[in-house]
Amino acid sequence: MRHIVHILENDFRNFFRYKWWLVGLISMNLADLFIMAIVYNRMLKPEVVQQIKSYFNFFAPGLTVTGLFASAFMIGREVNMERRREVHQYMLSLPMTRFELAFGRVLSGGLRGMVYMSPLLATCFAFVGPPTPTQFLIILIVLFFLAMGISGLSIAIAVSTTSIDKFVTARGLIYYLLFFCSSVFYPFSLIEQLGREGKFPMLLVNFARVNPLSNASDLIRSFLLGTPPFTLEMVISVLVFSAVFTFFAAFAYIKLIERA
């Protein structure tokens, strides 16, 4: 456990080296909420207003999840850079087991995401309304598991290539697919409707349904706004995503950096 704490300390120091980047990211997130969401609020169709009431309130939980995603994904960039610069040889020489090293990296990526997301979640509670203590605990647990899964996903991509271009391309593809093919920006019913009309592939509709970003956003909305209704599927989807990618990333990290 002590060794994992060392890994956490190292990764958090690196995280705060990007403070300018983080300030930029937060201001973009806040501009999305306080400018874009407020303008979209005025543009909604009456039937959408009936469903979500206010776009600002609808979007605030989604924004929290996108912030978590972006910051938890940053660990992949560092792992990829370490592999390119062969810092991983040094990491492997540290007096700790491979599992501690790998799990420590995934955990620190997830915790960094939680730290970054906290002010966004607080803003969401301040404007949309606070949850009950039990709901708050569930939200934190689900978001923590989501952050672990995202961190694992980014590490798995990062160790599978030494090329920065390939990493950036893969990251872009995953980033935008998970962001835009989800209910972060719009209600899932609209995606479903496009699918029924044949204007959107059913494969992508199903992807949006199981997308952990959709489920985490909808979980917060279900507690704060009462819509969509809370289902166990929301929690299970995030937990499965997290379990798969945490262990896959730890395994890939150990195997691939040893081979490299």
């Binding site: 303008v39 959408v48 271009d165 950036v168 593809l173 719009y186 609209l190 496009l194």
Partner: protein
Amino acid sequence: MVIMRAIWFVSQIAFFGLIASRMVAVEDYFRYYVGGLSVMTLYSAAIFIGFDIYEEAEHGVFEYLLSLPVTRRELVLGRSIGGGLRAFIYVGPLMCISLYVIGIANPTNFLLALFSLFLFAFGISGMSITLAVVIKSSDRFDILMGVLDALIVRLSTAMYPLSFVREANPIYGWVANFNPVTYAADLFRWGTGIESFLSFENPLLPLLGIVLFFAFFMFVGIVLYDKSIEGGGWQ
């Protein structure tokens, strides 16, 4: 960068544009959004010249450029136009996708809109160069560009019509009214025939706005380049 922008652009059209058009009560929002998206992409590509300035300073290329037998004015003008043209080359294929989706109603209008987009890209490159030589810290420049990007693009008509921006907040509407991104986005829409929700009646007014924007950053860029860089000023 080109691939990243292309992925972002296509996913914006295929997902956000398509689904958001079902959410909002703006007629033909999909085409409206695709028009604005092209200008947003051009803006973010033209900004990149500022990051090159830091790389050049780091590698000592700056001193080499200053030693070339060209005037400072030619140097700034050349870099701004080069940055703008490069942005156009990056964004060109993506714009072709936009035009395929939107179509062109009037070729003459479109040529005028394209000319204004060139000036817009040169102006943005000039702004990026000006800020880079004033700030002289890549970290601070990075954050300022992030904040500017967040504010300039969102407080414009790139994503939504001006009437809704004004309705949401009069201050937002006022800023959007004097924003070069608004001029470029609406001129591009006008050039491609998307005439509902335009923020102007006479296209010469936004064109004049873009010419002034370009001229201002060119002038300020030349003055600041001279003042900030000469005699090892970068250090």
